[in-house]
């Protein structure tokens, strides 16, 4: 096994753990934006699409490169924009945002919600 492959495998395995760890405490209300956000992140395939398109010199490669870049760009741009649109709706209510934040935190700590003093 080459050194490079070994490195890549290391990144791969560690990324699995980070990926699971980093979202393990997501509240239900953010499931949809989170799915959409991760969806945008795998648009990183655009990097791969650019790599294969850059050196395109045969008709087959040109078609493959063109389609791959187009699809990947749609993924990246659409993904980030639609996620932003979703999350935009949570702003513009600064008074309530703080309370919701407190409620979320409290819910994770203990299920007793009735005593929220901020209400």
């Amino acid at each position: 096994m080459s050194n490079e492959l070994l490195n890549e495998l290391t990144f791969f395995v560690l990324s699995i753990f980070v990926g699971i760890e980093v979202i393990s405490k997501v509240p239900t209300i953010l499931h949809t934006p989170l799915m959409s956000g991760t969806n945008a992140i795998h648009g990183i395939i655009l990097v791969g699409a650019i790599v294969i398109a850059a050196g395109a010199n045969s008709p087959v490669n040109i078609v493959l490169g063109l389609v791959a870049v187009t699809l990947a760009t749609t993924n990246v741009v659409g993904g980030f924009v639609v996620t932003d649109r979703m999350l935009e709706m949570f702003k513009g209510r600064n008074q309530t945002a703080g309370r919701a934040q407190g409620a979320e935190a409290q819910k994770q700590a203990a299920p007793t919600k009735e005593s929220t003093p901020t209400k």
Partner: protein, 461 residues
């Protein structure tokens, strides 16, 4: 130069991780998305200088970015909030397709006998990317109602899927062990596309969010595999992050429905028949329906009203009308809350997004666990376009497809007003006993029209 690029990829990876982290808290979510977007820009910017571009390469990249950028931003800006799930499916599918095509191009460049360590991730990327592409398109078609949302099953379906999977495995071995020729990996791609369609067809529309989440994780893994082929650190890390977090999210979603992932994906077989039989057996029972005035009066003289919004509210764009009703009720001193089932709408959190759009205050939105004990003190449970999430058969009918799913205790309220377009069963395709409950008043019609009528009736009461 190379070191700089690798460092830039490292920065991008950190951005993705921080972005994901922030996306999981309500306060930082929007920022998180932006941080991830910055990471994306860094990764892309780092990719450009290391390449030798042919003229054709520059042209196709420019054309692709312009078309893709326009399509992506147009689609994302124009889509109605109710149609978000299918839009996510679409964006996910094209990502999977791109991953498969990148792998095809790489295999072409490697010649007939590529090293095993690049050939394996390439075929993996082709298969998984293609399944994700085709599956996402079917999910899109089901949610967009371009095709029926009910599970499509036929005799021998599992056998057909098994044969497809076996044929794919055969071609995988052919590419890896015999020769990597275009015929083999194009066949592989076609078979994987067919399997992607066949895999999603028997899954009902209500389960599409889970499927989309799963396919989202698939695309992530396909992208990671492409990273191994291209020796690209950014693809490996970002793809794997999505693959791992997407898998966890898929599990969280099926948990919210009280079902195992296996049951969601393969549960349609044999179950639909039992469900239809159950529906047929219950025909001929009568329901009570009320007029806008009856219900308006009932609401106006209540003390506590719990609104249970569902997908019907979303389809009718009735979130603003619902808020208006809540406002007039509150003016009369009625206490109004919204009970949000984890899978209300078509994705977990979907209903919160919609109600937030209508400026419903956060503190009125209550999640299932905190609101379920309050139903017994509520004078009216007002069910607007929801169905399966209040269906008691989830509690007491072991044969039901939704048996075991946690539901809202709307049946414990003193009165139940069930607003629905018709008696048609919900998304899961099963009858709802709650509609026949003696405490239940049905109010038929489009959710938005009905709510507007109720607002007028409450004002008049």
């Amino acid at each position: 130069m190379n070191t700089l690029i690798e460092l830039a990829y490292l920065v991008a990876a950190v951005c993705f991780i921080l972005g994901l982290k922030q996306l999981s808290s309500p306060k930082g979510a929007r920022n998180g998305n932006r941080i991830a977007a910055v990471g994306m820009v860094i990764a892309l910017a780092a990719t450009v200088p290391q390449r030798h571009f042919t003229t054709a390469g520059v042209i196709i990249i420019a054309i692709g970015v312009v078309i893709g950028g326009a399509a992506g931003s147009f689609g994302a800006r124009m889509v109605k909030m109710t149609a978000i799930p299918q839009m996510v499916a679409l964006f996910n599918g094209v990502g999977g397709g791109a991953a498969a095509l990148v792998a095809v191009a790489e295999l072409l460049s490697f010649g007939q006998h590529p090293a095993f360590e690049v050939a394996l991730p390439s075929v993996f990327s082709i298969v998984i990317g293609s399944i994700s592409f085709a599956g996402s398109m079917v999910a899109f078609a089901k949610l967009q109602e371009l095709m029926t949302g009910t599970p499509i099953t036929y005799p021998g379906q599992q056998v057909v899927n098994g044969i497809l999977a076996a044929a794919i495995l055969g071609f995988v071995i052919a590419v890896l062990a015999v020769a990597s020729i275009p015929f083999s990996f194009i066949s592989l791609m076609v078979l994987a596309l067919v399997l992607g369609i066949a895999f999603v067809l028997p899954i009902g529309g209500a389960d599409m969010p889970v499927v989309i989440s799963l396919l989202n994780a698939f695309t992530g893994l396909a992208v990671a595999a492409s990273g191994f082929t291209l020796n690209n650190f950014a693809l490996i890390v970002a793809g794997t992050l999505v693959g791992a977090s997407g898998s966890l999210l898929t599990k969280l979603m099926s948990d919210a429905m009280g079902r195992s992932l296996g049951n969601v994906l393969f549960g349609a077989f044999g179950q639909t028949r039992a469900a239809t039989a159950a529906v047929a057996g219950k025909e001929g029972r009568s329901v009570r329906s009320g007029s806008a005035e009856d219900i308006g009066t009932l609401l106006a003289y209540s003390q506590r009203v719990i609104i249970v919004p569902g997908y019907g509210l979303a389809v009718a764009q009735a979130q603003h009308a619902a808020r208006e009703l809540a406002d007039v009720l509150e003016k009369r001193g009625v206490e109004v809350t919204y009970a949000i089932h984890p899978v209300a709408g078509r994705m977990p959190g979907h209903m919160n997004v919609l109600l937030a759009e209508a400026n419903v205050p956060y503190e009125q939105l209550k999640e299932m666990d905190e609101v379920n004990d309050e139903f017994k003190n509520a004078d009216v449970a007002l069910i607007v376009g929801a169905n399966d999430v209040v269906n008691p058969s989830a509690r007491n009918a072991p044969g039901s497809p939704i048996y075991g799913m946690p539901i809202l205790n709307a049946d414990q309220a003193k009165n139940i007003v069930f607003m629905k377009r018709s008696m048609r069963p919900g998304f899961a395709g099963i009858d709802n006993d709650l509609m026949y409950d003696p405490k239940t008043l049905m109010f038929f019609g489009d959710a938005k029209d009905s709510l507007t009528k109720l607002v007028a009736a409450v004002k008049a009461a």
